[in-house]
Symmetry: C2
Subunit: 231 residues, 2 copies
DNA sequence: GAAATAGTGTCTTTGAGACAATATATG
DNA sequence: CATATATTGTCTCAAAGACACTATTTC
C-alpha cells in the first residue's frame, strides 16, 4: 500500500462473499444453506459466506467457504463469480456489498452437514420458497439457480455435478434435474457424443444391477457447446 | 442502521463503480475513456467511475457516471452489471473493490468530450492495446467488450447501439462492427424479421441518397433471440 | 423369456448459409 | 440506363426432435 489507511477518505463499506453451492440429487436440485445462530435473522437460512480479508482475494474467499462447507477439493467442482449485491439496507447493520459466487459440486454421499454447532443442510430448490432466507439471499440464490440452468445449455458444466466418471444416463439426469423435465435419451446420447470434447470414453462400464451396463465417461476438455443443447 | 459504524469490526474496504461504455461508429467499436490527471496513473486512460456513496446503490452510481459522461437519458441506453474486480493490490493506495458495469449507447453526434478540465474521449477498441490503461481497467474493458459480443448473439441488445429508429442495414452494421466481420444482408434481414418482437415496423422510410430507401424500424419488446444469431 | 436400461438408425422439420433474382431509389 | 442499396426467393446442408428398433444385462 502506498498510502496509509485513512478511514475518513472513503465511505465505510464492508465486503462479503456469499456462495450459492448447488448439487444434483435426482430428481432434486439442491442448495447448501446455513442456519443463522446470531442476529440479525436468527434462525433464518443463509448462504455460506463471510467477510473478505484485507489481503484476501474475492475468489480465494469464496473457495475457502466452499471447501469449508463441502470438504471438496477445487479440482472436483466449479466456482465462478455470479454477481454483486450492494443495495443500501440489504444488511440492517451497515453498508455491506456482497460478491456472490456460484459453485457446482457433485453430490457427496458423505456430507459434513452441521459441523460443530453450526447447522448447515442441503435444501431442495423446490422448497426454497417455504424457507425464511436472511438478507437478500433469496434473490442471490435465484440468480445462481438461473445462471446454472442457462449455462448448462451452452457449456459442459453439467459434468461438474458428476463424479470423476459417469454414465450417459447420469449426465442426462443432471440436465433433467436442473431443467425440471425429461430429455430424449437417444437424442441426448447422440448430441453429447457428437460434441467434440464434451466427454471422453474411459473404456469401462458400470452395471447398476438391472439393464444393459452403461459405458463410463469422464469430462472432456471442451468448455462450450456449439451449437448449444436445447433446454 | 441498527448498529453504529465500528471501524474495527471489519476490514477497511473502498467500493467503486467503473463503467465500460461502448458505442458503435462503423466500422469501429468505441469505448469511452477518461485521462487521469491525478496520481496514481497520471496520464493513463481509465474507465469512467468513482466511489460509491454510503447511501447510494451500485446501479445508481453507475447510472450517474453514464449520464455525466454521455448526457444520455437512461431510456436510450442499456446498463447492466458486468463483474466485480477486487484483487488485492489492483489499486496501489488501498484495498478497492470495483463493481464494473457495461453500458451500450447509441453513437451521439454531439458528444461532450472533455468537459471542463477532465479529458474524456472515445477510443476505438482496436487501439486499446496501444493505450496505457490505469489499474486493471484493461481487463475490465476486455471483459465488457467480450460480454457485448456474446450478448448480441442471444439478445436484442444490438438495438441499444441504434437511435430510436433504424434501418435493417444500420442494425446489421452494428453486428458487423461489434463482431468484426460482414454478415449476409439477405439472411440477416430474414432472421431479424422472423424473430418475433426483435423489431417493429414504423411504416416510414429513410433515403440515404443512393439506392433504394430502407424501411425504418424501432426496437421490439423481445429481449432474447431464440434461436440466437450466429456470430 | 420378461423387464429394464443402453444405445443405434431413420425420418421429418426447422433454420442457417450461399447466392440468384427482383425492387426502388439516384445520377 | 448504370449503379447502389434494399428486399425476396430458392436451394442445400446441418442439426434437433420424434420414435422405431436393436443390444445387453438381471430376474
Amino acid at each position: 500500500m502506498d498510502a496509509p489507511y485513512d478511514p475518513q477518505a472513503f465511505p465505510p463499506f464492508a465486503v462479503t462473499v456469499d456462495v450459492v453451492i448447488l448439487t444434483v440429487r435426482p430428481p432434486q436440485l439442491e442448495i447448501l444453506l446455513v442456519q443463522r445462530s446470531e442476529a440479525p435473522f436468527v434462525g433464518h437460512w443463509a448462504l455460506p459466506g463471510g467477510f473478505v480479508g484485507v489481503e484476501q482475494s474475492l475468489v480465494d474467499t469464496a473457495q475457502a467457504k466452499l471447501v469449508a462447507k463441502t470438504g471438496l477439493s477445487v479440482d472436483h467442482s466449479h466456482l465462478e463469480q455470479l454477481a454483486t449485491f450492494g443495495t443500501p439496507g440489504r444488511d440492517p447493520r451497515m453498508r455491506v456489498v456482497s460478491v456472490a459466487y456460484l459453485a457446482l459440486v457433485p453430490r457427496l454421499d458423505v456430507v459434513e452437514e452441521s459441523t460443530g454447532r453450526e447447522v448447515s443442510a442441503w435444501k431442495t430448490v423446490a422448497d426454497l420458497h417455504d424457507l425464511d432466507l436472511a438478507f437478500d439471499h433469496r434473490a442471490i440464490a435465484v440468480a445462481g439457480i438461473e445462471r446454472a440452468r442457462a449455462k448448462l445449455e451452452y457449456t459442459t458444466l453439467a459434468t461438474s455435478f458428476c463424479g470423476p466418471t459417469f454414465t450417459m444416463g447420469e449426465l442426462r439426469e443432471v440436465y433433467e434435474t436442473v431443467w425440471g423435465h425429461t430429455l430424449d435419451p437417444a437424442n441426448f446420447h447422440r448430441k453429447v457424443l457428437t460434441t467434440e470434447g464434451f466427454v471422453e470414453p474411459t473404456g469401462k462400464q458400470r452395471a447398476l444391477g438391472k439393464g444393459r451396463p452403461a459405458k463410463l465417461y469422464r469430462r472432456g476438455d471442451a468448455g462450450f457447446l456449439n451449437p448449444p443443447l436445447q433446454r
